[in-house]
Each structure stands twice: as structure tokens, then as C-alpha cells.
């Protein structure tokens, strides 16, 4: 207990001494909506956590600005057979304590994250990997349970951790004092307040652009904007489209945005309630005016889509014709199904934009259905949405990203029967997405996804609404181009000269 009292005293002291740290050209301050839950990159995978820790660690693979998978810690790779892949590891990379990054560390990182003892929530993304072994100097061989084409896309998310350090200090200490091979090392982590990083001088790839980077925790969007306006922050995340529209008149700050792989979609329950009738589901699809949603509520920060998937993903197709806005047709379909005035429950939570939900509600009501919003907190929402079809409401809005830029990460979990999100069953569809999951040939996979999307269009267990944009607010002097996977790599940023 006395140790804790001392630590409380220490916090009070630092607070007194660190009064108003002067902003200099060499520092960057970023406001995020929350603190990192963990800085151990093998534990939590939420936007705030990985926005921070991916600057401390390098990944096995990464994506270039065009979205293609390119080498990072792995120099190259080749498939030995459908289930075996061999990576060649760079030998010029050092961790922030000066020790060399070796093939041992890579194999350790993979085996660590798939070890059930770690209880990593990310295990699900890597569970197709059965093991990783060092197979020579700077060589690592990975085996998957079956042929797994999305493997590389998943490995983009794999951070490499130092085996010797983790084994020495243990998991808990590693989480508190992470050590990686990335461009920034942890200087000070005041949980719930801010995370301060400092440049790692001998970083192998580039010279880190700022000596010091601070990620602050500011939950309220209005407060973040106020921080940006007053110069308290140089970059803020989670800007709303309306805030962005309002920022355009300002000179000291600017809006940075990028279309992402995230897709705004509407799930429609195909297994229970009035929406069990495909005509009702089609009516809903016809009732929605995408361009009104995008122009008015997203202030143009969105692109209409016909499928549940956006352009940057593998498997995206524009060959599937969507449902154009046609309220008359929708009304006719509702009438035909005898569902006039049918009560539809629209599940949602505060995590989803309220205005969008209300606008969709109004659009569907106008074609003769009766939508009632049922908003609950996120945990309860997920429990219902992922539970039994009978209790999963009639529809829900979502903004989906698997951060893997692959249709497998979207429509497989959303609509494959047996998946927790799916309230839909179609054996033909299941066969297609199952097949695509284990097909290594690109064209064959693309063809399967196109057919799958066509089935989804006909059966309407859900509809794509728009490709979402990531919107940030930044100091005018900051150079940065946000990317499709919503990553926040500080090395891509710089101050204008």
C-alpha cells in the first residue's frame, strides 16, 4: 500500500513540474478518443491501442500507400505448398535496446499470439496458423491448418516482439514497458491521460520525423476540436463529418480524409420477424436514399456502394447491380408481402451515428413499414445482434472493417451461416465463401466472391450503404496522407518546411 501512496505522490509531483510543456517544431501531439488499452501489441486490437503501439513495433508485412502488401520485417516470402510458407527475415533490424531482431523473434511472435495461454483476443485472426519455426538463418516457416489465402493480409497486423526481453520480464511487465523495433520507443505512459513516445535514433527504415510524439486521451469530440483550434493538439482523430464541414472556413487547421476499407452497411434479419420475407428486405433496400445520406449527413465524406464491401478490398466488384432508390417500388413490395405497418426493431448503440440511424428509420417508415429504434449500450447491443435470430432485431446499422482488405474478412463473418453475425442461411452462398477461403488462385477467388455478392444482392440479408472516410483534423502545417486501413503511422507525417 505504501508503494501505491508513493506512486500517487509521484504523479502529483510530475503534474506540478510538467506544467504546460512548450510546443516545439520537434514534437507532435495527437488527440485520440481513448487511451491504449494495452501496449502489448499481441493483446488488445482496438483503434486507439493500435494507433499508438504500431509506432513502437514493426510488423512482419505492411501495406504501401496503394494498399498492396509489401515487405517490412520479412524481406520476401514463398509458398512451399498450399499450407506452408517460408519468410526471409531482414538482418539489419535492431530492437530499441540495441539487440538484433532475428528469425527467433519472428517465430516467437507468431507462436506467442496463437498460444491460448496468452488469452489474446486477436487469436481469432491468427487461428488458421498452426505453427511457426525457424528453418534456417533468417528464415521462418509458417504452417497453416488449410490453404489460407488471407494469411498475408492478416500478417500485416502481426507485430514483432523481442523474445529475449519478453521472456525475461514476463507478459505483465512487457505490457507496461513495451520494447519493439519500431521508429518510436515508449518514454512515459500515464494511463488514461497520455502516452509519450520518443524517437528511436537507430531505426532501420527512416529517420523518425519528430523527436517526441504524445498521444492524448480526449473522449469528447467537441473537446478534441477545441484542442486543435487552440493548438493544444496538432492532429485529432474521430472528427465528425459536420465538424469537418465547419472546419473548412478556418485557416490554421485543415481536414485530412481518406476513403477507407470500412463499409457502412445495414444488416437485415432474414431468419426471423417480418423481414423473413425477402420482399420486405428488398423493399428496405429500395427505400434507402444513399445519396441523401452521403450528401446531407456525411457532408460528402462517403462513396455509395452496391455491395457490402468497399473498393480497397480484395473481392470488390462493381458488376453487381444494387438497389437504386425507388420508394414506389418499395411500397409495392411491402404491399405485396402484406407487411404494411409491420413493426421492425432497429438495434443500435451509442457507438453508431445517431443521425444516420434516425434518417434510415424515416426512409423506411416512408415506404409503409414501422421502424422502432432500440438503442442500448454496446455490450448489450452485441449480445443481441450476435445472439439468436429471434432476438436479434430486424435490422442494425454497422460500419465494418476487418483491417485486412479482403472480402473474406467481411462477408464471411457477416453472412456465412453459423457465424455469430449471420441471420441468414443459403448453402449455395456458404459453399462459395468457404471455397474462396481456401482458393489460392486470385482470379478463381474473385469469381467466387462476385457470385457470392450476386447471391447477397438477391437475398438481401444486408445491404452496403457507403464506403466510409476516415476524417482527421490537423494543424495546417502538418503533412500527412491518411490511408485506407485507418493506420496512424507517425513516420508518414512531417512538419512543412
Amino acid at each position: 500500500m505504501s508503494v501505491r501512496l508513493t506512486s500517487i505522490a509521484a504523479v502529483l509531483l510530475t503534474l506540478a513540474s510538467s506544467a504546460a510543456f512548450a510546443q516545439s517544431k520537434d514534437a507532435l501531439t495527437i488527440d485520440l478518443s481513448g487511451d491504449a488499452a494495452t501496449l502489448d501489441p499481441h493483446l488488445q486490437w482496438d483503434t486507439n491501442s493500435y494507433s499508438i503501439y504500431r509506432n513502437i513495433f514493426d510488423n512482419l508485412l505492411t501495406r504501401n500507400p496503394a494498399g498492396e502488401i509489401v515487405p517490412q520485417i520479412a524481406k520476401s516470402w514463398k509458398y512451399a505448398d498450399d499450407k506452408t510458407i517460408e519468410f526471409e527475415i531482414r538482418d539489419d533490424v535492431t530492437f530499441q535496446d540495441g539487440s538484433k531482431l532475428t528469425a527467433e523473434d519472428v517465430a516467437f511472435s507468431i507462436n506467442r499470439i496463437i498460444d491460448p495461454k496468452l488469452k489474446s483476443p486477436q487469436l481469432t485472426q491468427f487461428d488458421q496458423i498452426s505453427k511457426a519455426e525457424v528453418s534456417g538463418p533468417n528464415k521462418v516457416t509458417m504452417t497453416t491448418k488449410s490453404a489460407y489465402p488471407a494469411l498475408l493480409a492478416q500478417l500485416v497486423k502481426l507485430s514483432i516482439v523481442p523474445k529475449a526481453y519478453v521472456e525475461k520480464v514476463g507478459d505483465q511487465e512487457f505490457n507496461a514497458k513495451p520494447l519493439g523495433s519500431g521508429p518510436y520507443k515508449l518514454a512515459n505512459w500515464q494511463k488514461g491521460v497520455q502516452t509519450e513516445l520518443e524517437a528511436y535514433g537507430s531505426y532501420w527504415r527512416v529517420k523518425p520525423p519528430f523527436a517526441k510524439v504524445t498521444f492524448r486521451t480526449v473522449p469528447d469530440a467537441s473537446t478534441r476540436l477545441a484542442d486543435l483550434k487552440t493548438g493544444k493538439a496538432d492532429l485529432i482523430g474521430g472528427v465528425t463529418p459536420d465538424q469537418a464541414a465547419g472546419m473548412k472556413s478556418e485557416t490554421a487547421i485543415k481536414v485530412l480524409s481518406a476513403p477507407t476499407e470500412r463499409v457502412g452497411y445495414l444488416y437485415i434479419n432474414a431468419e426471423a420477424g417480418p423481414t423473413k420475407d425477402v420482399r420486405v428486405r428488398q423493399a428496405i433496400a429500395y427505400a434507402i436514399d444513399r445519396s441523401a445520406l452521403i450528401e446531407a449527413l456525411l457532408a460528402g465524406y462517403g462513396n455509395p456502394v452496391n455491395i457490402v464491401g468497399a473498393k480497397p478490398i480484395f473481392g470488390y466488384t462493381d458488376k453487381v447491380e444494387g438497389y437504386a432508390y425507388d420508394p414506389e417500388k418499395a411500397k409495392a413490395l411491402v404491399k405485396e408481402a402484406g407487411a404494411e405497418g409491420a413493426k421492425l426493431e432497429f438495434l443500435t448503440s451509442p457507438a453508431y451515428n445517431r443521425a444516420t440511424i434516425e434518417a434510415i428509420q424515416q426512409m423506411i417508415n416512408e415506404v409503409g413499414l414501422n421502424v422502432e429504434i432500440a438503442s442500448s449500450d454496446q455490450a448489450t447491443f452485441l449480445k443481441r445482434r450476435q445472439g439468436e435470430p429471434a432476438n436479434a432485431g430486424s435490422m442494425a446499422f454497422g460500419a465494418w472493417s476487418c483491417a485486412c482488405q479482403d472480402a473474406d474478412g467481411i462477408i464471411f463473418p457477416l453472412f456465412r451461416s453459423g457465424s455469430i453475425w449471420a441471420k441468414y442461411k443459403n448453402p449455395q452462398y456458404d459453399a462459395l465463401v468457404d471455397g474462396a477461403r481456401v482458393t489460392l488462385d486470385k482470379n478463381e477467388r474473385l469469381a467466387k466472391y462476385e457470385q457470392a455478392y450476386q447471391i447477397l444482392k438477391d437475398d438481401v440479408p444486408g445491404i452496403g450503404l457507403y464506403q466510409a472516410f476516415a476524417i482527421y483534423g490537423a494543424n495546417t502545417k502538418l503533412n500527412w496522407t491518411p490511408t485506407a486501413n485507418e493506420a496512424m503511422f507517425v513516420t508518414d507525417m512531417s512538419w512543412q518546411q
Partner: protein, 306 residues
């Protein structure tokens, strides 16, 4: 006296135990954090596996007994979200909560008590009306609105104070005002009422009759006597401030217990919530027991009446 003290303490322990039980049960009925932790593409089987690893698949009473077992050994458990001991997470926020509560108390007492004295001694005057208006305003504006208005006026437009954060004294001012406003009104009204109460008593009239000025009667006698109920309220307000900070701390990005509490409830980080509830109820019960003791010492009749 000793028997009364022991009895009261035993009841206090039972009360805290009751609080923990109620919160434990309610929390667990509202679902477990597994669904919030996994990435969206997790399969049902993977979720079940993680749930099992985290122990949330056990019957509620087993989890409860495990929790109590840990509690006896002063083991408050680990946060499933941050993967560090829950007590450490909460304790790291305590200094901020103390600072904010302190600031709010300064605002509440510093403005509330003088205002209450003025309102009681200058009854019917314009000053009373102005002060009444200010005091009632303090409890008529939702904090999420007063917070953003303060930021907009003093930070964005005038640039006098920092918009948010917790690094220095200046950033403590606005949250303290926003949080202290409600308690300020409580203090002002309590002070006013107890002074009016005292002013009606015989000794005041006797003093006045002896030729003492109103001012000296108030400062010498009335304030001291009127202070007791006000101090009681102060003790209770501290408990309220710990929790009332939920919204203020969110608006001003102040890393106190209130913000932590709401985030932990939303992420179903059960054990962190339990520690917070334990802490707040401990402070609350402690202050109310202390107040009871003071009463009992001052006035033996209370022991019979309570």
C-alpha cells in the same frame, strides 16, 4: 459508547459488502466483456474459447465466490481489458479525482458559504435576489452543457485557459467550476437555512438587546453554531463529487475515477468497476460513520433517536 461504535462499524462493513454484491450481480447480468474484446470476424467457437479462458463461462456463484476469495487476500483481480491489476488502474486515477474534488470543494465552499451568509443576513435586499439567482442557476444547467460553454468561451474564444487536459493548475479551473456549481448551490442553501435558524434563537436577540451589532453577533456566535450542519453536508458532498464527476471528466478529458467508471462499465471491465464502487462506498460509509460519531459525542440523545 464503545458498543455503539462496534455496532455501527459492523453495520458499515455489511453495507459495503451489500454494495459489492449488488453491483457484482447487476454487472454480470448485463453481459460479459468477451464480445467487446474480440475482433469483429471472430467465430462463435473462438468467442466461447476466450470466454472460457477468461472464466466468464463459470456459474455466477462460482465467479462470486472466487471474487470474494480474492478480496479476503486483498487481491482485487486483474482488468480483462488492460491486463494489469484493477487496483493499480484505479489508484493511478485517485490523485486526479482528489484534485478535481478538491477544486470543486474550493469552488463550492468558497462561493457557496459566503453567498449563504449574505443571503441569510441581508434578507429581502437586492443582494439576496442576485445571489439566489446565481445559486439556483448553479443547479439548473446540465454539466455537459456548462462544460462545453466554458470551453467555448474561456478556451476557444478568449484563450485564457487550456481546453482540456490535466497537466497543470490552469486546466483544473474549468472542470472545478463545472463540477463545483451544483455543490455550491447546496452549500449556499444549507448555510442560509442554518443561519436563519440560529438567528431566530434567544441568544441572538439577547445579544442584540445588549447592544451588540448584528455583524458581531453573526461572526462571534451564529457562524460557529450554524457550522455543524454545514460540515455534515460537506462530508456527504465529497461522496457525491467523486461520482458526479462522470460527465465533467468526460467533457474536459480529466482522467479521474468518474471517467474510468463509465468506461469500465461500458467495456464490462467488471473488476475495475468493483474496485471503484468499493472505494466510493468506503469513503461514503466512512464519512457517514464519522458524522454519526461526531453527533453521538456532541449529543448523547442521538444514540437513542437513531
Amino acid at each position: 459508547m464503545l458498543r455503539y461504535a462496534v455496532q455501527r462499524l459492523i453495520q458499515a462493513v455489511i453495507a459495503i459488502f451489500g454494495v459489492l454484491t449488488i453491483v457484482f450481480v447487476v454487472m454480470h447480468f448485463s453481459g460479459d466483456p468477451t464480445l467487446l474484446l474480440v475482433p469483429p470476424d471472430a467465430s462463435a467457437q473462438m468467442i466461447a474459447e476466450l470466454r472460457h479462458q477468461l472464466g466468464f463461462d463459470q456459474p455466477l456463484w462460482v465467479q462470486y465466490l472466487n471474487y470474494l476469495g480474492g478480496l479476503i487476500r486483498f487481491d482485487f483481480g486483474q482488468s480483462v481489458v488492460q491486463r494489469i491489476p484493477a487496483i493499480d488502474i484505479v489508484m493511478s486515477r485517485v490523485p486526479y479525482t482528489m484534485m478535481l474534488a478538491g477544486g470543486a470543494i474550493v469552488v463550492a465552499v468558497g462561493i457557496g458559504i459566503p453567498a449563504g451568509i449574505m443571503m441569510a443576513t441581508r434578507r429581502g435586499g437586492w443582494l439576496e435576489r442576485v445571489l439566489t439567482a446565481i445559486v439556483v442557476t448553479g443547479q439548473s444547467v446540465p454539466t455537459f452543457l456548462s462544460g462545453i460553454l466554458l470551453i467555448f468561451v474561456f478556451a476557444v474564444t478568449l484563450r485564457w485557459l487550456p481546453t482540456s487536459g490535466s497537466g497543470d493548475f490552469a486546466s483544473l479551473i474549468m472542470p472545478s467550476v463545472a463540477l463545483g456549481a451544483l455543490s455550491m448551490s447546496t452549500f449556499a442553501r444549507m448555510t442560509r437555512i442554518s443561519i436563519i435558524d440560529e438567528l431566530g434563537k434567544d441568544y441572538v436577540r439577547a445579544g442584540r438587546a445588549r447592544g451588540l451589532s448584528m455583524g458581531s453577533v453573526v461572526t462571534r456566535h451564529v457562524l460557529r453554531n450554524a457550522a455543524i450542519p454545514v460540515i455534515t453536508i460537506a462530508a456527504l458532498e465529497i461522496g457525491n463529487l467523486l461520482a458526479g464527476a462522470v460527465i465533467v471528466e468526460t467533457v474536459f478529458a480529466w482522467p479521474g475515477i468518474g471517467q474510468l467508471a463509465i468506461q469500465s462499465i461500458q467495456s464490462r471491465d467488471f473488476l475495475v468497476v468493483q474496485v471503484i464502487v468499493l472505494l466510493i462506498s468506503f469513503v461514503y460509509v466512512l464519512t457517514s460513520v464519522a458524522a454519526d460519531f461526531v453527533y453521538a459525542l456532541v449529543d448523547p440523545r442521538i444514540r437513542l433517536a437513531r
